[in-house]
Amino acid sequence: MSAPVEVLPSLVDVPPKPRRHRTPLASVALHGTMLAAVAIALFPVVWVFLSSLKPRQEIQRSTIDLVSSPSLDNYRAVLFDTNFPTWFLNSVIVAVFTMLIGIMMSATAGYALSRFNFAGKRGLMWVFLLTQMFPVAILIVPIYTIMANLGLIDTKLSLIIAYCTVAVPFCAWMLRGYFDTIPKELDEAAALDGLGPFQTFWRVILPLARPGLAVTAFYTFITAWGEVAYAIAFIQTSDNYTLGAGLKQFVPQFNQRWELLTPAAILITIPAGIVFFFAQKHLVAGLTAGGTKG
């Protein structure tokens, strides 16, 4: 079970290969490939954004126009004439709570798995891996039944709980790897200073694990923000839809409302982008942390 250690991008970084002599041709090839890759990575987002500024007739035209009579009308329509703002708010609530609960649960579990040798630890690690294999199809009906019995169908709480079960095992696994990279001597020093395990965890380890926690936060948020299957199955009224379920209404089989869908897609990506931005700083900081040590 040592492999997962490296899955969390081993955020503690080793310096890059030293800059050797590189021919100009190799340089051009390297930057050329990188630029092409970046273009492909960004392009769909950019294209949807450009399309979202176009009026309906322009979106559905077969000629390529980067920008033609741009306006914010589509955004206005989505924000004021549809249920989109409600769905958006629902998604924010669900994703934020999933993120908070997910971080708390996976951090404590990951720490315990990393530091303590308790009976049943290996079995637990396997169960965590196994949960990643559970297809939505087998769990969704029984969970649906449980939620129905608890009276939680059509509530946000049902989604938060369901998403935590999806995200926490992986995050605990990942964080365990990250905690492994923090020297155990720190725990021992803290214990000598009279801190109990919980205090050690809270005051010493968590602050050091910020990059790992940032990745966890990012992952749990994205999981909840982008989930569709549970949302469609559990939520029944349009007022309680989250974005994944709600957006489906813009693209029925016929008469697809791309002029609503494109601005909605951009608006949906913004919060994810914000979370990404904050996580990314830690991620890159983590990645380059070792770089200065030479």
Partner: protein, 337 residues
């Protein structure tokens, strides 16, 4: 400490009279460890393992939306309710669901299975190779690598269903960008969703785009854990870049690779939103993978819960068998997983 008395003994560590403090310390630590894992274990038990058992049971019944209630209640004139047993309750039907599914009497198991295998293989292959290529390049020292790295992770931040819509939009037959570009270079527009393989192709493209960043970041982490001295020594011995890649980089990446390929396979196998939204099973259900097919069985039309559970058990079995074989192959090669 009063708490130590409540701690279960750790059977792997026999008490040693010479070190009275050690056992006690282990007790203390174990207590905390369990307290820290407990919430996760509880949630997993209640919401994953118990439903799993339920799901397996349901797959042996004929449970649907119509026959799920144990009692049927009707309002009486006085405002009360009378309840009587549902005459058509779900019944135990043994292996009927499995037989029906595997012989193709209901649904299209083998078609969906083929789709799933093609879909998973293609996606994981491209995730891994593209991710590895980018990671190797990003691991070099060159100007702007930090910015490249950030920009290349962007698809990771786009929710799967949004990316699904974006790609469906670009692959639209009439006004999609892909056909427009093809038109510019003199190729007739392709009716992407009218054929099984072109339709599946669009979904694979969307998913590859979405999944490369995770692989890239994970492999980059792996690359950075490889000792630079190995490369120095190999260079002195006159190894070519290609030889260095095959004999140092690839073996060095083995632990990371084995994990991300396993996880990636499992995730892709169960990837719901991309297929559900990009192809929507078009044309006529021919591009459904097992997970989306099972979901439609359960939650569209008459909700056939037992059939969905049957698919669920089959999917899970396939994955468990796959993971088992995968692990065995790795351990044969000396990899402790």
């Amino acid at each position: 400490m009063a708490t130590t008395t409540r701690t279960p003994a750790d059977p792997t560590k026999p008490a040693s009279p010479k070190e009275p403090g050690r056992l006690r310390r282990s007790y203390d630590r174990n207590w905390y460890a369990w307290a820290m894992v407990l919430p996760t274990v509880l949630v997993l038990g209640v919401l994953v393992l118990y439903p799993l058992a339920q799901g397996i049971l349901q797959s042996f019944t004929d449970l649907t939306e119509a026959n799920q209630q144990e009692v049927i209640c009707t309002k009486t004139l006085g405002g009360g309710e009378t309840c009587e047993e549902n005459p058509n309750q779900a019944e135990f039907v043994g292996l009927k669901n499995y037989v029906d599914v595997l012989t193709g009497q209901r649904g299209d198991f083998w078609l969906w299975f083929t789709n799933t295998v093609v879909w998973t293989t293609a996606c994981v292959f491209f995730h891994y190779t593209i991710g590895l290529g980018l990671a190797v390049m990003l691991n070099r020292d060159f100007r702007g690598r930090g910015i490249y790295r950030v920009l290349l992770i962007v698809p990771w931040a786009v929710p799967a269903f949004v990316s699904a819509f974006a790609w469906r939009f670009m692959f639209n037959q009439n006004f999609g960008l892909v056909n427009a570009v093809l038109g510019k270079i003199g190729i007739d527009p392709v009716a992407w969703t009218d054929h099984r393989w072109t339709s599946l192709f669009t979904a694979i493209v969307a998913n590859v785009w979405l999944g490369v960043p995770f692989m890239m970041v994970a492999l980059l982490g792996g690359l950075q854990s490889i000792n630079n001295d190995l490369y120095e020594a190999a260079a002195i011995d006159g190894a070519s870049p290609w030889q260095r890649f095959w004999n140092i980089t690839m073996p060095g990446l083995r632990p990371v690779s084995s994990t991300v390929i396993l996880l990636g396979t499992i995730w892709t196998f169960n990837m719901f939103p991309i297929i559900f939204f990009v192809t929507g099973g078009e044309p006529a259900g021919q591009t459904e993978i097992l997970v989306t097919g099972a979901f439609r069985a359960a939650f569209e039309g008459i909700r056939n819960y037992s059939l969905a559970a049957t698919y669920g058990v089959l999917i899970l079995s396939i994955l468990v068998v796959y993971a088992g074989i995968y692990r065995r192959v790795l351990s044969k090669q000396g990899e402790v997983f």
